[in-house]
Structures are given as structure tokens and as C-alpha cells.
């Protein structure tokens, strides 16, 4: 059976479609806004990450309640804080490409003439925002539950710096690795196996900087500054590598 072409509809299909290649910034905003809109609608990542962070706090609380009264939590609090952040971020990163993979949305985006690195930047920025939102809730709770009874240093407010620098690195490396593993079978385990070793230098630096900040009375000590510089250097290198490799990683 052949159908007579409808002249009006034919005009409608090609009705003076004017296309002007949008700026990189506007494509970034469009991609980033979609991620935020999607999350606001489903709250899939935020709720699972937030709930997981609370569970970690609960488990740590139970474990530390058994500790001897002479036990000084300040000596290990940096490590405990980052255990919570790393595993919470891992949970979120595993879900960060769910909507893109569900019905081929990512392929739809890849068909658009745009620099593939913009996809990376937008996804990384969205992952960073979600991680920071969870940290803004979980970190004050961490300090309230575990640090309120202990004498923390006067410079504790500086902990925001390793938190921010560490989160940027986690979001950058995590987004790249989540892209690689998102199409794989057993991606949850695979991401964890790749993610932890790759972020180890960053983790070492930010745990040092955080521990020094919590325990040390001297604001901006040399140990703090050198750890932070190492973490920032890692961020710059990994962001550049991820930016450069993304086109290769995302195309078959």
C-alpha cells in the first residue's frame, strides 16, 4: 500500500529549520540542566547517596561506641570521613549513567554535533553538585556525632578545602570511569575495582590534609599545604587526562 504524501505535512517537516551551532557554554548548560532536572524529578542519586552516608555514620557510631574511653577519635577522623565520602560517591557514580543507558539517550546526545568533552564536563559538574549536596548534609552530622565531645583544632573550618578539592577529583575520575564501565556487565564491581586504585594518590593527600586540619592547632601548617597542593595537582592532571580521553572512551 502506498500513501499519498500530504503536502502540508511535508512543508511542516522541513519548515525553514534554521540551525546555528550553539556555543560550547550553551551546550554545557543544556546538558548540565538536563542532569539536574532529571535528578530533581527522580531523586535517585541524591536519595541513595544520602541514605548510604547516614548508614555509614550509624555503623561508625556503633563501632566507636565500643571503643575505650581513652581512644582519641581525632587521630583517625580524617580517614573515617573520607571512607564515608568515597563509598557514597561510588554509589552515586554507579547510577550516574542510568538514564542515559536506559533507552539509548546517550547515543541521542552523541549524534549531536558537539565536542564530546562537553558531555564529560557537564556530567562531571552534575556529579560534583550531587556529591557536594550530600557532603553538606553528612559532614556536619559526622562532626556533630563524633567530634563534638573531642577537642578539635581551631582551624577545623579549613576542612572545607580538602573536601572541595577531593570532591572535584572524585567527580572527574569517577565520571570518566563510570562512562567506561556503564555499558559493561558487572559494572558496579568493575567501577569500584578501577576507581579506588586510581584515586588512591588523591585519597592519600586529602585524608592527610583533613587529618592535619582536625588534629593540628596550627592553622595552615606545611603538612596541610603540601597535602592540598598534591591533591590539587592530581585534580589538574586527571581533569586534563579525562577531558582529552573522553572522545576516545565514549565512541566504540
Amino acid at each position: 500500500m502506498t500513501v499519498e504524501p500530504d503536502q502540508d505535512k511535508q512543508k511542516q517537516i522541513a519548515s525553514a529549520v534554521k540551525v546555528k551551532r550553539p556555543s560550547t557554554a550553551s551546550q554545557f548548560v543544556t546538558l548540565f540542566a538536563r542532569d539536574i532536572r532529571q535528578e530533581m524529578r527522580t531523586r535517585e542519586m541524591l536519595s541513595s547517596m544520602g541514605f548510604y552516608a547516614l548508614l555509614v555514620l550509624l555503623v561508625l557510631g556503633v563501632a566507636l561506641a565500643q571503643a575505650d574511653s581513652s581512644f582519641q577519635i581525632t587521630s583517625i577522623s580524617g580517614g573515617l570521613l573520607w571512607v564515608m565520602i568515597v563509598f557514597t560517591s561510588l554509589l552515586g557514580l554507579n547510577r550516574s549513567f542510568t538514564s542515559e543507558r536506559e533507552d539509548g539517550g546517550l547515543e541521542g546526545v552523541l549524534l549531536v554535533p558537539l565536542d564530546r568533552s562537553i558531555i564529560f564536563l557537564a556530567k562531571m559538574a552534575a556529579n560534583l553538585v550531587f556529591l557536594l549536596v550530600v557532603e553538606m548534609i553528612a559532614c556536619p552530622l559526622f562532626f556533630f556525632f563524633f567530634m563534638s565531645q573531642n577537642a578539635a583544632s581551631a582551624s577545623i573550618a579549613l576542612v572545607v578545602m580538602p573536601l572541595l578539592i577531593g570532591s572535584i577529583g572524585i567527580a572527574a575520575v569517577g565520571t570518566l570511569l563510570a562512562t567506561i564501565t556503564s555499558g559493561a556487565r558487572g559494572r558496579d564491581v568493575l567501577l569500584a575495582m578501577l576507581f579506588i586504585p586510581v584515586i588512591f594518590p588523591l585519597l592519600y593527600a586529602v585524608v592527610s590534609a583533613t587529618s592535619v586540619t582536625i588534629a593540628n592547632t596550627e592553622a595552615l601548617s606545611s603538612a596541610f599545604i603540601s597535602s592540598l597542593a598534591m591533591a590539587a595537582g592530581y585534580d589538574v592532571i586527571m581533569l586534563s587526562v579525562s577531558w582529552l580521553l573522553y572522545d576516545f572512551v565514549i565512541t566504540d
Binding site: 511535508q10 511542516q12 540551525v19 551551532r21 543544556t30 524529578r41 536506559e102 533507552d103 549524534l111 565512541t251
Partner: protein
């Protein structure tokens, strides 16, 4: 022949490790043609389409689309290519309108809101435009997917089993839409439905184990001859 070429491939190959998904495929397709690609599972049909859509890189060989090199001019070519597949390439939690607006803005349409409404009207989805795609039937989702594929008015439409999972009503609507959008466009459609694929085609291609075993114009070819050609080609491919 005065007709210009839409696609020209030269020894296009794709390997996944030791597996040859596409093995030295060369063909030329004139503009405004409708090429139906047939072959058994694993013949390389979807791989060919993914390479032409710039979603996959060929391991070797080259391809030209509208005179532009697929590798070097991929970015320019993407604005001329639309893809409709059995997957909608939409975001299920966003509404039909939000999905199309998102793609319209990425493509840089001058007035994306107007174009999106126009396309929703074309696929008769205006009444459901503010509903999330997740709640749509397969046929309704495919209609929105058609609107997405046509949003930027592409010259080349790549269709990867677009009828898969559609009910008879949705199939006839898709047929009608394909007929409407056909003038001035080149189509390549991968299909398992020999009869349907042949009825739409101006050219047919048969792939087997990644190799091109038949490429013919449909002029002077009736359905029975085509079936015979298909089965002979598949035998040769084995």
C-alpha cells in the same frame, strides 16, 4: 547518471577483538534513495549503521557522506544525520516536550520551542507533550523518537529496525510518516522483515557474516526474485 551520491564506502571494516563485525564493505548509494539492509543476526547490519551514524569508528576503510569524509568531518555530518532505532534515544523521566527541547537546544535550532511543537503536532503527540516518556506505550514512544530524529531536518535517515515491537496501528503510522518525510532525503533501513523492507526500498543490500553479499537496485526486481536473491546470497555468505 546525473544523480549525486549520498554515500560511498570503500572497504569499510570493523573488528571487535578477533571478531570481524564488518568485513571490507564497499558500496555507492545515490541521493534520495531508500536502501534496505538485510541479513541474519550478527551479519553486521547495525554495525554498518552505527559507523555511518558516527557512533562507531571503522577499524579500517573509509566512507564519504554527501562528499564529506566520515572520519574527518564527523562533526559537520552529524547535523545532516538522523537516527531512528528500536531504542528511542530519549530520557524516560523527562516529558516528550522536555526531551525534544533538550535535543533542539543541543542542535542549536533557532526557535526550538516552535520547532518542537511543530514536530509534536506532526507525530500527533501534542496532547501528551507534558507527560513523561516512561508512561508511553511503545508506539507513542516511537512517535516521539521520530520527532527527535527529524528535529534538525536531516538529509540522511538511518533506521535500525524501527518497526521492532510496534503494533499494527503504530506500524501503519510509521509507514505514513516515512512516506511523508521521504522526498529529498536518503534512507538506510536495517530490517528483518523482508517483505516490508523490500516494499519501501529503492535499493537492497544483503550482509552475511560482516560481508556484503548482494547490493542491487530494486528496479525490475519483483518480490519473489528478491526473496530468491536473498536466500542465494545468504548461502553464498555461509
Amino acid at each position: 547518471m546525473s544523480q549525486t551520491l549520498a554515500i560511498k564506502t570503500d572497504s569499510l571494516s570493523k573488528r571487535f577483538g578477533s571478531v570481524r563485525a564488518l568485513d571490507s564493505v564497499s558500496f555507492e548509494l545515490p541521493s534520495d534513495s531508500f536502501l534496505s539492509v538485510f541479513g541474519p543476526n550478527g551479519a553486521g547490519k547495525s554495525t554498518l549503521l552505527r559507523i555511518l551514524a558516527t557512533l562507531a569508528r571503522p577499524t579500517s576503510g573509509s566512507a564519504q557522506l554527501f562528499g564529506l569524509n566520515l572520519k574527518e568531518d564527523a562533526d559537520s555530518l552529524r547535523s545532516q544525520i538522523g537516527v531512528l532505532s528500536h531504542r528511542s534515544m530519549l530520557f524516560p523521566d523527562l516529558t516528550a516536550y522536555e526531551n525534544l527541547l533538550f535535543f533542539g537546544r543541543l542542535y542549536g535550532l533557532e526557535s526550538p520551542e516552535y520547532r518542537v511543537n511543530e514536530m509534536l503536532d506532526l507525530v500527533e503527540m501534542t496532547g501528551r507533550k507534558h507527560d513523561a516518556v516512561r508512561g508511553f506505550s511503545r508506539g507513542m514512544t516511537q512517535r516521539v523518537a521520530i520527532a527527535r530524529a527529524l528535529l534538525h531536518d536531516p538529509r540522511l535517515l538511518l533506521l535500525d529496525e524501527p518497526y521492532s515491537g510496534l503494533d499494527p496501528g503504530a506500524i501503519s503510522l510509521l509507514d505514513e510518516l516515512l512516506e511523508q518525510i521521504r522526498p529529498g532525503r536518503t534512507f538506510i533501513m536495517v530490517s528483518h522483515d523482508l517483505g516490508h523492507g523490500f516494499s519501501l526500498a529503492s535499493h537492497i543490500m544483503v550482509l552475511s557474516r560482516g560481508r556484503l553479499v548482494a547490493f542491487e537496485s530494486c528496479q525490475g526486481l519483483n518480490q519473489q526474485q528478491f526473496y530468491d536473491l536473498y536466500h542465494q546470497s545468504i548461502e553464498i555468505g555461509k
